[in-house]
């Protein structure tokens, strides 16, 4: 589709509209370089001039944007139980509704075929021609080798990599990324400005994921295992974790642990509006906590306090500009905030917490879907140019 000036397209995608000056800063390239590049992109009908912006005492700059329907991205956000799919245009706007359906990742041989069928259905339903789609960005839990395109934990594919397998079936390029990593990228690119440079982004989900933005880059460690926040050995509770170890943070603080605690509490006769459910799900607890049920609030607060203890450790080591609560659980962000802040204050050296802002994401449940988009944008340079080769004269 486009081969040159990928860096300009990336910067324009993330900023939505920008002046030549903005683009020069965002890409780290000189103004003449950017000027030439944008002129080329305008000629190719990929970028258009939007208009003139106000200025604070000087010439008004021309501003540019990507043309919305130049291309479309398919974002697939998976968790252990549910998958969502949405089509996104070049102005980062959702096109059509978000498709949501159940898809169990554990012990499900059919998962990969179900996923492919849903992606293909989405393409067809959209009515858009196949060649308008740039790529599919899949985000999901598990240990993911984004470079090779494999998930070592879920969705094994025979012989070839997961990404090539799916790509063949959907006839589109496919990129894959870990859910927490993708959420961190989404927060960095589309979230609060304090998440841009040095930020710890917590994915409150079935586990407790962490994506680290260090010096404006996502950090994955030497072999891709960095950010294993969920398995920090902080508790002497003897509870066995899925990882095989005991006392991991997630045995006390994940949504799964919260579900288990609620079920156990109700069995012990706790008074709560949760009794009306046959089996209590995390969603039920969130709902009732929002309505003010004391028991639901209490077990969430307890979990939050443990997370805050873990964050205190993160603060000592990383001294980030911000900690962002994101992911599924962040829709009840306000409920987590105060016990987390309290635990951080209690466990940090004096004044340390004053240097880090704790905030709830403004992207809510869209974070992972936007993360899938980011995954595609970051890999744009890998898309082979579909050149129509003209005959030599």
């Amino acid at each position: 589709m486009f081969f040159k000036n990928i860096d300009l397209i990336k910067a324009l995608y993330y900023s939505k509209t920008a002046s030549l000056n903005d683009l020069s800063i965002d890409t780290g390239r000189s103004i003449p370089y950017v000027t030439k590049g944008v002129a080329d992109l305008v000629k190719l009908n990929i970028v258009k001039e939007i208009g003139i912006r106000t200025s604070s005492g000087g010439r008004k700059p021309a501003t540019y944007s990507l043309i919305a329907d130049t291309g479309f991205i398919i974002s697939v956000a998976m968790n252990q139980f549910v998958t969502r799919i949405v089509i996104v245009n070049m102005n980062n706007e959702f096109v059509g509704d978000v498709q949501e359906f159940e898809l169990k990742l554990n012990d499900n041989n059919n998962a990969i075929h179900s996923l492919i069928a849903h992606i293909n259905a989405t393409v067809i339903k959209s009515g858009l021609p196949q060649d308008k789609f740039l790529a599919v960005g899949i985000t999901m839990p598990g240990f993911i080798d984004a470079f090779q395109g494999n998930n070592l934990s879920f969705l094994q594919s025979p012989d070839e990599t997961l990404v090539t397998y799916i790509a063949k079936q959907v006839e589109l390029p496919v990129f894959i990324e870990n859910d927490s990593t993708s959420i961190a990228l989404a927060e960095q690119k589309f979230g609060l400005p304090i998440a841009r440079s040095n930020s710890m982004i917590i994915n409150l989900g079935w586990g407790i994921g962490l994506g680290m933005i260090i010096n404006k880059e996502i950090f994955k460690g030497h072999s891709g295992f960095a950010g294993e926040f969920s398995h920090l050995p902080l508790h002497k509770n003897g509870k066995l974790c899925s990882c095989g170890k005991q006392g991991c943070l997630e045995t006390e603080a994940s949504l799964l642990a919260i579900e288990a605690k609620a079920t156990e509490g109700l069995k012990q006769g706790e008074v709560s509006s949760l009794v009306k459910y046959d089996t209590v799900s995390a969603d039920n607890i969130i709902d009732e906590a929002l309505k003010g049920d004391a028991f639901a609030v209490k077990i969430i607060s307890e979990a939050a306090y443990f997370i805050g203890q873990g964050l205190a450790i993160l603060l000592h080591l990383m001294n980030p500009e911000s900690i962002i609560l994101s992911g599924k659980g962040s829709v009840i962000g306000k409920l987590w905030l105060s016990p987390i802040q309290q635990a951080m204050n209690e466990h940090c050296i004096p004044h340390l917490t004053t240097y880090t802002q704790l905030a709830v994401s403004n992207l809510g449940n869209d974070a992972q879907l936007l993360g899938g988009v980011t995954t595609v944008i970051e890999n744009l340079y890998k898309l082979s140019p579909q050149v129509s080769i003209s005959e030599p004269a």
Copy 2:
């Protein structure tokens, strides 16, 4: 002294001798650029061609080095009780002996003047002319603002910054850096190759310092507080830490804690060769442990195990290529290794430890002195050129 090509000088200093190709890789600049730059430096008598190196099937490259006596650096390594000074040439060789003297940092109004006197004495004793010295690199504990040149914990100077105050008195440029940070830089530049890109460097000293190398850069966090390993809240022992909190790692695992435990143990009647000392110092414990004293080995092992517990957390979060044990305490590195490794294995998710190498520094007690040198080299670009301005024609 030299204004252009500082990047080449830096690369040459760290590699000691290098071909044009090596320098191109190390500096990230093109070969023509490096070729031109080195030719200029040779003309200025800063660099000389050393000879021709063997090659694996191709033309033999010319190799270059800095000229040893072009300039000299004064490195000052301080800890809570003792300060060391040495002069280092442009080939990273110590010139003359390392000066060592007692200098208490706590509650000592005279500390700063004593320090200045010793630096000046070193200059005079060397017999080298003042203008041959490039700068003084001071490394010491405390929270240091390297950019402003202040130490917020020790050596307060009135009105002006610590660095300007000392610079005036010694009539040389002065740079300052935190001891653990400087040790990490020394390990990265002069130590084991596994410490180059992603490494956690532990400074086993009166506290337990940490310097983090992330993506080939030292990482200090958003406001300079990153790497507070010593104060990780890992213990529920009720012991008050110097930071004002309770249960910090250093209350169990620093050399100070080890001293306290030994003294207490002897009072309880432990059998040990340590009984022969009036008051037991960390050095005594190290000596006797090396000689095989069971009690000394035991309390060091206990501390090591706690450090290993802390390192397990670091492994989960950072997934580094290596962990390097450095600093004063690393001279008994072998004694720490096995309990640390054991604690790491016990507290990490399965297989995680296989991705990180644990090693003892090969720089030993010189690490901090070399760190002072690195501090100067990294700030070389700040040295104002002493140009002899010629009259316009």
